[in-house]
């Protein structure tokens, strides 16, 4: 079967019932009635709400308490493509991958009890990485709530700390309003996951359905107003800066502000560094792009954070992996913080000027206030430190002279073959740092990784969602041998759906990042980090996925080329050096300027 046909499956025919709706609508329009209603079940209402919100794909796993909704899905399968993952966690990560690449809301469906609790890791990941998700869970009948019924769990209670909003529905009539709110909350302002728990009786119950999109909630202000004075102050600081440094995060991507951002840094000649989730907002090769900040970021932007005179943070949240020791983080600099979330201001780093609001609007309004500048001498410092990093680290990563294959050279080959046009999905650990350091990105939304939560097992299912969210793009998942085995069962989903993702496992037979820490900080006591792995190629072949393994450097280029050229899913295992370390590195508790090159 051609996978693209499945992925691009578009609604074809209307059901009879849809025609009925049409007739009713026509009639009521004539009668000038405000809204049409139709008597349907709660579970059908769920589907109709999803369609009204423009959902055409969702990820999930059926079970007792969600069966009525699945029964309706069966009837609507020509309009809504349900992807059966092999574990509910996979459903959430797939929905995340879909959301991150498409900018749309990812949707998950699961049953009560274990089905619902299996969603939690993905929900927590989406919460900390501001990914819009709507998760719908079935719940036991409302008369059984609190009785320790079969597969009953307090999922609203459990998910509260990791959701932007959640709600339990016990009456069918609540479904349209609650789901409308769910989508509005998930996608507006700083996006995030929401969970709606629906009791089984509410799914069966019939009611008069009508749907109205949610446009406002009185207690919720998704985008704070921008203070014009703050914007003027920010512009003045930037105009007077001798050594400005921009650190941008995912807020630029989430705010669809890539063009405005590029215009701002180009006009004022601002060197700009990115957090892991900010990657790809501007092309990797852009001359003002000075690399990644943080623990395993680039040397220049980290060290010069403690030398800049104005630090301009845009849509980022000063995570501890970015700042290192806060006591010695950018103390010499005036700090300007652009963010949509007022709670982020002064949370970790004291701000001199806070510009609240949507990044697109703020940056658009900032642009005319800026003076053109080039900061040539200041840029030279970044170049000098890059040269040092190249000599000490990058050269050996990308052009190794030793026998073992490095993770970096695998990324180099992927870059060459894809021209930087691929979306790269990475898991968590050493390979993730290498991927984010070396992957080339030409367009925005090309870096999909678990940043805040650091969820091993994220990449394989996220790549499925990413490919479905952007079927025309090449999607390459780069995964370590540890994380791969956390959600390896999703190969089943790839097989069943024929998702043409490219999977690269960088196998060092270790939980590499933990091993690196054990080597550096625990006197090489390798407690439970060595992995005895199965034959990954055989496993992939078991799912009818074309697969090969590379052990020698001489075979690497051809293997990467074959993988990218292959029309369909492909698995490539690369045996990399077992005990390689990721450098540079800011050891925990150290200052960004004390970054180690070796």
């Amino acid at each position: 079967m051609n996978s693209n046909q499945i992925l691009k499956n578009k609604p074809t025919s209307n059901t009879n019932r849809m025609k009925t709706t049409q007739t009713i609508q026509n009639k009521t329009q004539a009668q000038k009635s405000t809204q049409t209603t139709e008597r349907i079940s709660g579970s059908e209402a769920v589907i109709r709400c999803l369609l009204a919100e423009g959902v055409d794909i969702l990820y999930g796993y059926p079970g007792g308490a969600i069966m009525p909704v699945y029964d309706e899905l069966y009837k609507y399968q020509d309009q809504l493509h349900h992807v059966l993952t092999r574990h509910e966690q996979g459903a959430t990560h797939a929905a995340q991958g879909y959301a991150r690449i498409s900018g749309k809301v990812g949707v998950c469906l699961a049953t009560s009890g274990p089905g619902a609790t299996n969603l939690i890791t993905g929900i927590a990941d989406a919460q900390i990485d501001s990914t819009p998700l709507v998760c719908i869970t079935g719940q036991v009948g409302s008369h059984l709530l609190g009785s320790d019924a079969f597969q009953e769990t307090d999922i609203v209670g459990i998910s509260t700390p990791v959701t932007k909003w959640n709600h339990q529905v016990t009456k069918a009539s609540q479904i349209p309003e609650v789901l409308a709110k769910a989508f509005y909350i998930a996608r507006s302002g700083r996006p995030g996951p929401v969970l709606v728990d629906i009791t089984k009786d509410a799914q069966f119950e019939e009611f008069d359905f009508s749907y109205k999109k949610c446009k406002t909630i009185r207690s919720y202000k998704p985008v704070p107003e921008t203070n014009l004075n703050a914007l003027l102050e920010a512009a003045e600081l930037i105009n007077n800066a001798k050594k400005p440094l921009v650190v941008w995060g995912q807020g630029v991507i989430l705010g669809k502000a890539e063009a405005e951002f590029k215009a701002v840094i180009e006009k004022a000649g601002l060197p700009a560094a990115w957090t892991i989730l900010g990657a790809s907002a501007i092309p990797s090769t852009h001359p003002l792009n000075v690399g990644m900040v943080g623990m395993h970021g680039n040397y220049a932007p980290n060290v010069l954070t403690n030398e800049c005179d104005v630090l301009i943070a845009i849509g980022m949240r000063f995570d501890d992996r970015v700042t290192g020791n806060l006591e010695s983080y950018a103390k010499q600099a005036k700090v300007i913080h652009f963010d949509i979330d007022p709670a982020e201001i002064d949370k970790n780093v004291k701000t001199d000027v806070a510009v609240l609001g949507d990044s697109k609007d703020s940056l658009k309004n900032l642009l005319p206030l800026l003076n053109p500048n080039s900061h040539i001498e200041w840029h030279q410092k970044f170049k000098d430190l890059y040269a040092l990093e190249y000599e000490k680290v990058i050269q050996d990563d990308l052009h190794p002279t030793k026998v073992g294959i490095t993770m970096g050279e695998v990324l180099k080959e992927i870059n060459i073959k894809t021209n930087g046009d691929a979306a790269i999905v990475s898991d968590v650990g050493q390979h993730q740092m290498i991927t984010c350091r070396y992957a080339n990105y030409n367009q925005s939304k090309s870096n999909i990784t678990s940043g805040g939560l650091g969820t091993m097992g994220f990449a394989l299912p996220a790549a499925i969602g990413a490919k479905m969210g952007a079927p025309d793009r090449e999607v390459v998942a780069v995964i370590g041998d540890g994380g791969y085995q956390m959600t390896i069962q999703e190969l089943g989903t790839i097989f069943q759906q024929q998702v043409p993702v490219k999977i690269v496992v960088l196998n060092n037979e270790f939980l590499g990042m933990v091993r690196q820490w054990q080597q550096l900080f625990f006197d090489k006591r390798y407690a439970s980090t060595e992995m005895v792995n199965p034959d990954f190629v055989v496993i992939a072949k078991g799912y009818d996925i074309k697969a090969q393994k590379v052990v020698d450097r001489k075979d690497l280029k051809a293997a990467v080329n074959e993988m990218i050229d292959h029309d369909g899913p492909y698995f490539l295992e690369v045996r990399v050096e077992k005990e390689a370390n990721v450098f540079p590195m800011i050891p925990t508790g150290a200052s960004v300027s004390d970054m180690r090159l070796e």
């Binding site: 509260t160 700390p161 932007k164 909003w165 909630i217 009185r218 207690s219 919720y220 709670a343 002064d346």
Partner: protein, 177 residues
Amino acid sequence: MSEQNTLYTVTIYTENNIGLLNRISGIFQRRHINVESINSSVSEIENVTKWIMVVNLSEVRMKKIIGQIEKQVEVIKAYYHTEAETIYQESCIFKMKSSLLFDGKQIQLIINENKAQIVTVEAEFFVIEKSGKKEEIDRLYRELSPFGIMQFTRAGRIAVTKDEMKISTLLQELQHH
């Protein structure tokens, strides 16, 4: 901003929603902050719930927590105030043995001096009620203790601020938004 711990009265205006207690208490729990008292009630605005919480922490942390509280979708507005900025009351009730009332006038004296009231007298026990400042309640407790307190319950603080809270204006703005 002060790094020293202060007793703050937190006022939170919210929608009346079932899961909010969990959501708000979670914000404190995650940061290991003990909530001294909590009270939830109707407010001066119809369909708006008002929470009064008392917490002991630095202003730096207090501000950050207010930000986290306001971030919750169903929270309309949150404020924090020092003791001096609020007028507040706490109340409590004591259950004591009735026989104490007949063994001299000491108990009566304590009740009068503390401006407390007897709510009811039964054959076996009687109940004293007292509203006032924290210290006043502490004092009454200390003075009654030697006589044997059968039961003691203290309610959460209720408070109003000396300055105006522009919550009604805010709500009107939100509704016309």
